[in-house]
């Protein structure tokens, strides 16, 4: 009896470790994104280099967490809810790792952009950063609180990011048509915008996994509006 109780406590602790590990990676990616925006707006190359460096930490933590999940699956053979949580965690950490990579990509582009003259103040990109960052945060909040409504909100916000991305694209297009010397800068800015758009997609992926984790129903590859009905 005592032995069993002990084992279950140990098991609880391992689950909690996974949960916290996941959130820690989430917090790191959020920070990377925030700092990326700062490095871009303030043309801070040192900060951008730091972000690139930090991505290695995210990658390492991702591998560790995945290993932990697999070990738990093999040793404890969890069922039902716990099983869903662990498989979800593996998926979410994958998304987070990709977000980290995107943030590092952005930082690399910022390093190049900082060497080139700025063509206009950034308005839409910081907005995209703050929205996509909010999406990551909300999707992880939804996981902690097991809040399906919040996860659904994240799915809806993805459309805003898509629209902003299109807007940035159109704007940059006019700049490039005006002056071919601006093409280089514009292309890099465009890549950053594209990375942000994909970060938002990954955040949406996390939200989908949270909905699956809580309800057991998969909503992946379904538009938010259909899901609403």
């Amino acid at each position: 009896m005592e032995e069993k109780k002990h084992t279950s406590r140990e098991y609880e602790r391992e689950l909690q470790e996974i949960r916290e590990g996941l959130l820690y990676i989430g917090a790191l990616t959020e920070r990377a994104l925030e700092r990326g925006a700062q490095a871009l707006v303030e043309r801070d190359s040192a900060l951008a280099r730091e972000i690139v460096r930090e991505d290695e930490q995210i990658d390492r933590l991702d591998v560790d967490l995945e290993e932990k999940c697999i070990r738990l699956l093999a040793l404890r053979q969890p069922a039902a809810r716990d099983l869903r949580f662990i498989t979800t965690a593996v998926k979410i950490t994958g998304h987070l790792e990709r977000i980290g990579d995107m943030a590092a990509n952005i930082a690399e582009k910022v390093l190049i952009l900082n060497e080139l003259p700025q063509i206009k103040p950034y308005v839409d990109l910081p907005r995209m950063v703050s929205i996509s960052r909010g999406m990551i945060r909300k999707s992880l909040d939804a996981m902690v609180q097991e809040n399906v409504e919040l996860a659904k909100q994240v799915r809806e916000e993805d459309t805003i990011i898509d629209q902003l991305n299109d807007q940035v694209f159109r704007e940059l297009l006019t700049f490039m048509m005006e002056d071919p010397r601006k093409i280089q800068v514009c292309l890099y800015v465009m890549q950053i915008s594209k990375s942000l758009e994909r970060i938002a997609d990954h955040a949406e992926g996390i939200a989908d996994m949270v909905i699956y984790m809580v309800t057991g129903k998969s909503v992946r590859h379904k538009p938010a509006s259909v899901e609403q009905g």
């Binding site: 909690q16 916290e20 917090a27 103040p121 308005v123 992880l140």
Partner: protein, 589 residues
């Protein structure tokens, strides 16, 4: 099972009472029985004596009649023990009676009694015998006997009476015991009820028992204890309320983690800092609730070293705040339970001030060094021979002079500013028409405006009230703002100056341009000395970086204020609010 004190008392009383009554009843019964036996015996003895007065022949002749009169069996026995006559039939065949104990006793003491089983009558009998005497001596004996069965009912009757009395007494005792137990236990019951109420936490009221015995004393003591207790509880409550007020009212955020590092409690300051309701935090770990890497790492370091840790950590998402976080261990209620307390102190403002100071030093050095470097450089070149060429020399000297003038302007501005900050600058306020000052300023910038191809519009609505201002300072304020507008508006843009009566006894002057605009985040920093929103460009335009700072201070000294509103890429609007002139006012500083 709990036996009530009442039952204990009641049954004890009852047992003692019944025992006493029963014992005395039994004793009485026995006493009555012996007494009754003696009387019957005496009665029979006197009967026998009366019979013995008669001559023996007479007795023998009337034995049946005598026996009936004496309501007993009569036996006449001669001196030798032979039965002479007997009232019962068959008595003649009786054996010698001389050795019967009643006869022996009668012979010796003059009367004898005995209880014996009569073989003749086959019954338990009481025998009494008296001697028959004449002058010489004993001639025989008269014996009377009655069956005991005839005596018993009398005795039993007495017993029944005694038993009835005992029964009455027992019932009476029962009632007394009941009453007594109840009466004696009533204060104890009230005591129990009162103390029971105290145990459940209600300590109001007093125990009222007016008896002067030990129970009364006990009640008084309990009242004393309750009074002390009430006072203690009140003090403790007050302490607790005070602590709670401090805990929730302090501006610092406080967070307590339990032994498993889950958030146990947060105060209101913490809620405000994180912008999360306590429900979202309590029961969760730091990383779950706040998703803050630095804080999580700091907590990890604290757990490793187990000593109080103090770190600067950024917090918040939409509105970044700098926190001075102190992590320390606190002991929990249970022995050995370790809790962690985190105290968050908002140092955002402090940090900002610190940055302003370091920026100021860096800026001042930079602003002074730039013209100095030019002056030194050109002087050196002149010394090295450029002096020979008058054309170059003149050009160089002009540059040196320009830079020296710039230095001079900088020092002037710095002096003005520090004078304003220290409140030493004396203002000479008077009632002024704002339009006049605006026209003066427009005249000053006119040349540059035309050069740049800007359109300036003046909008003054009707007759405006006089404002209270220092004439020269007013020009300085307007010039500074207008100068900025001209500098940061690209060619082809437009500037509008509008003056209108504002709310609350003030006059508003708005200077709006279609310039480059200022990022939202920079606006609050604009009043800082040397702060430039666009770092590279504005210095090229020849400003000292002190203009807005001076305006801000001047407006404050006038009792007015300034507000800036801007959209990046679309333009900036500066609003100046001047107080109105009133005749009865004195000079101001």
């Amino acid at each position: 099972m709990k036996i009530r004190l009442f039952h204990k008392f009641f049954f004890a009383f009852l047992a003692i009472g019944i025992a006493a009554v029963a014992i005395s009843g039994l004793l009485i019964k026995r006493e009555i029985k012996t007494d009754l036996s003696h009387r019957i015996e005496d009665e029979m003895v006197s009967g026998a004596r009366i019979i013995a007065l008669m001559p023996s022949g007479e007795i023998a002749g009337h034995v049946g009649e005598l026996a009936e009169r004496a309501r007993a069996r009569l036996t006449l026995i001669d001196a030798s023990g032979r039965v002479v006559a007997d009232s019962e039939p068959g008595g003649g065949e009786l054996d010698n009676h001389l050795n019967r104990s009643e006869l022996q006793e009668a012979r010796l003491r003059g009367k004898g009694a005995a209880v014996r089983y009569s073989r003749t009558l086959k019954k338990e009998m009481l025998y009494v015998a008296v001697p028959l005497r004449d002058g010489a001596g004993t001639t025989g004996y008269v014996r009377l006997s009655r069956p005991l069965a005839e005596i018993a009912p009398a005795i039993d009757g007495m017993g029944q009476a005694v038993f009835n009395i005992v029964l009455v007494m027992v019932v009476a005792l029962l009632l007394i015991a009941l009453l007594f137990s109840y009466k004696m236990l009533s204060p104890i019951r009230r005591l129990a009820a009162f103390t029971g109420k105290i145990r459940t936490g209600s300590v109001s009221g007093l125990l009222r028992i007016e008896s002067r015995d030990e129970i009364g004393e006990l009640a008084e003591n309990i009242n004393g204890v309750v009074a002390v207790l009430r006072e203690e509880i009140r003090t403790a409550d007050e302490e607790k309320r005070k602590l709670e007020a401090v805990f929730s009212g302090m501006s610092e955020g406080v967070m307590v983690l339990d032994a498993e590092n889950r958030i146990e409690s947060v105060n209101r300051g913490m809620e405000e800092m994180t912008g999360r309701p306590p429900g979202d935090m309590i029961g969760r770990t730091i990383i779950e609730a706040l998703r803050n890497v630095e804080l999580h790492d700091a907590l990890g370091r604290f757990r490793e070293r187990e000593e109080t840790l103090c770190e600067e950590i950024g917090l918040g998402n939409d509105r970044p705040v700098m926190m001075d976080v102190t992590i320390s261990a606190v002991r929990g209620e249970a022995a050995g339970e370790r809790k962690t307390m985190l105290v968050f102190h908002d140092v955002t403002r402090l940090k900002r001030l610190e940055r302003i100071r370091t920026d100021f030093v860096a800026n001042v050095t930079h602003e002074i060094r730039t013209p100095l470097t030019a002056i030194i450089g050109f002087t050196e070149t002149l010394q090295q021979g450029a002096f020979e060429n008058p054309e170059t020399a003149r050009k160089f000297l002009r540059t040196i002079r320009e830079n020296a003038e710039r230095l001079n302007r900088l020092v002037d501005d710095l002096l003005t500013l520090s004078g304003l900050e220290l409140g030493e600058a004396k203002l000479h306020p008077e009632g002024l028409r704002i339009e006049e000052s605006i026209d003066r300023v427009l005249a000053i910038v006119e040349a540059r405006v035309r050069e740049k191809g800007l359109a300036i519009r003046k909008e003054i609505s009707g007759e405006l009230p006089l404002i209270r201002s220092d004439r020269d300072r007013l020009v300085q304020i307007l010039l500074n703002i207008l100068d900025n507008a001209v500098k940061f508006t690209p060619p082809g843009g437009s500037i509008a100056i509008a003056a209108s009566p504002g709310e609350e006894d003030c006059l508003t002057v708005r200077i709006a341009d279609t310039g480059v605009g200022i990022p939202k985040g920079e606006i609050p920093r604009l009043g800082e000395r040397f702060y430039r929103a666009d770092k590279t460009r504005s210095r090229d335009l020849g400003g000292t970086g002190l203009g807005l700072s001076i305006v801000k201070h001047l407006m404050k000294a006038h009792g007015g204020r300034i507000s800036i509103d801007s959209t990046l890429g679309h333009g900036t609007t500066v609003s100046l609010y001047f107080p109105l002139y009133r005749e009865d006012q004195d000079d101001m500083v």
